[in-house]
Amino acid sequence: MFEIRIHGRGGQGVVTAAEMLSVAAFLEGRYALAFPSFGSERTGAPVVAYCRLDDREIRLREPILKPGAVIIQDPTLLHQVDVFGGLLKDGYILINTARTFGALGLAEFVKDFPPSHLLTVPATEIAMKRIGRPVPNAALLGAFAAATGIISLESVHKAIREKFPAKIAEANVLAAADAFEHVRHEAGATEHAQAD
């Protein structure tokens, strides 16, 4: 089982991100369970959503306490919510930011994680460019696909098209593709730097 926890704020499409992730996994023939942490539905309030992926039926309904990946849609939550609570030692961290882990003050915290599991992507900027609204969720799913390979970008695109009406879907598909390329490019640059 692979467990993903998504942190963000009301209005950023946190719950929708978990739902689309579950649809993407379903389209690949896997079992998926997406559910929100209920209640904090006000715009701007901290929101958590969860997604479990497995090759068999998922019966477990407790909140995700030991995620294999955390997706942080809003870096201002780093100082407000225990977003890394229970994160596995080899887990993935994906943050929506144009800054680096060091600039966010996380260098010490992340020093033992595999470098390839630490990702930043300017998802809000991508969303503003492609969608015209600060909704980073689709872009972050594209980045998640690129970083983890757990789901394909194609499945993310299909999930987006299932969730949104055509015009909004296509803008989100482009945002996901941009973020996918961004992460691929960064990974390539890192590998290149290491090779040098």
Partner: protein
């Protein structure tokens, strides 16, 4: 057809396949997505003929459902929590009149203090209202139970409440196998009402009944519920043959064959319990699970048979009879005819408190070691309770309980669960 959709949407689509002719809608979390989904299906013409009626309250929702059902229409509504309480008078009327309405209850706590999260207090408050009460474990079972519910309701001329955990199921995206219209039509015949208001053949439904026959009306209600106990297993079997999966029935056992400890529970928490039980089995604990699908009528003989060989029973329930303890536990004890084995009550998940494998394993292990109290509140914050009690001891003017506790707890946004 396999789909990855929200539980509420799955139920809405399943209800539409049952061809209801009147849907009464009044929004209340966490039920709202169901009637919204149905509203869209009616508006788009996918469900016809069907009258979708936006009513002004839950009391009106059930009253309109009563009128529609009495006129011979297949009637459906959905509610939760305070909404169920607000319609309570009409809920009893529907049962007393023998009208086969189907209602979803998206289980949610009852205030005060106001709380929108899941537990079973709402449905349990109406457990003796005369409706059949079914509890779904998964979204697949929730949609399947609705299809069975119309059949059951109309065959017995009794209303049926299908309970599904609010948010945990209603707002969860998971895989469901949506049946075809042909499958549902083959399983669920058109509504042939036992009684019908018809201007061409005038009659009255709802006469005042005095002491001369009131007891008999209630007795017949009871007899019909007891009859349901005989019919439900057969229909679940028929459902399995037609749809290819197990859903419904009175109850289901899991790894109970040689179990010394059996955990009894209802609803979606059964999944987390089964995961916990599997882990404990791996360590050699002889533990199993009894999931109750049909809470009313209470399948007393079946429960007794399922628990007969257990040395101890742990009833884990999302409800509380304040001043007594467990509601489900009291029913389990009643099945032993006054000679209960060791029955522990664990009250869990009230008002949306998370129920984790870690906490479950702790109480189940305590039960098997003989150290579990007769009544336990899972993950109760004893420190918080002590502070509140201390305040009450210090001053006769300690103020409102909920506000005092919230001040002690502080900001909750930092918590994950």
């Amino acid at each position: 057809m396999l789909k990855q959709i929200e539980g509420s949407q799955a139920v809405a689509e399943a209800i539409a396949l049952c061809r209801p002719e009147v849907i009464c809608a009044y929004p209340i979390s966490p039920q709202t997505h169901i009637v919204e989904g149905l509203g869209e299906l009616v508006k788009a013409g996918h469900l016809a003929p069907c009258e979708f009626i936006n009513v002004e309250s839950e009391f009106a929702a059930m009253s309109v459902a009563i009128g529609a059902s009495a006129a011979g229409a297949r009637a459906y509504t959905a509610t939760a929590s305070q909404g169920l309480l607000f319609m309570a008078e009409a809920v009893f009327n529907a049962a007393g009149l023998g009208l086969p309405i189907v209602m979803t209850v998206a289980n949610r706590a009852i205030g005060a203090p106001i709380n929108i999260w899941n537990d079973h207090t709402d449905a349990m408050s109406q457990r003796d209202c005369g409706w059949i009460l079914l509890f779904a474990e998964t979204n697949q079972e929730a949609l399947d139970l609705h299809i069975q519910a119309f059949r059951l309701a109309e065959a017995l001329s009794l209303p049926v409440m299908v309970c599904m955990d609010g948010f945990i199921l209603t707002h969860a995206y998971e895989r469901v196998d949506m049946p075809s219209q042909e499958q549902v039509d083959a399983f669920l015949p058109p509504f042939d009402p036992r009684q019908r208001l018809d201007p061409a053949k005038p009659l009255s439904i709802g006469a005042m009944v005095g002491p001369e026959a009131f007891m008999e009306v209630r007795y017949l209600e009871h007899v019909r519920q007891m009859r349901a106990l005989e019919l439900i297993p057969g229909w679940a079997e028929e459902f399995r043959e037609a749809f290819g999966r197990d859903s419904g029935g009175l109850m289901r056992t899991y790894r109970t064959q040689d179990a010394d400890t059996i955990v009894v529970a209802l609803g979606s928490v059964l999944g987390t319990i089964k995961e916990t039980v599997d882990a404990m089995r791996d360590k050699g604990e002889r533990i199993g699970v009894l999931g109750i699908t049909c809470f009313r009528p209470w399948p007393s003989a079946a429960v007794r048979a399922a628990l007969a060989r257990a040395k101890r029973i742990v009833v884990l329930e999302k409800s509380i009879a304040v001043g007594l303890g467990g509601i489900v536990a009291a029913n389990v004890r009643a099945s032993f005819g006054g000679h209960p084995d060791v029955v522990h009550t664990v009250v869990a998940g009230l008002g949306g408190r998370s129920i984790t494998r870690e906490s479950l394993a702790r109480v189940f292990t305590a039960a098997s070691h003989g150290t579990l109290a007769p009544l336990t509140f899972l993950d109760l914050d004893h420190g918080l309770v002590e502070r509140a009690l201390a305040r009450e001891r210090q001053t006769p003017h300690s103020g409102p309980v909920a506000e005092g506790l919230l001040r002690d707890v502080g900001v909750v946004a930092a918590k994950i669960s």
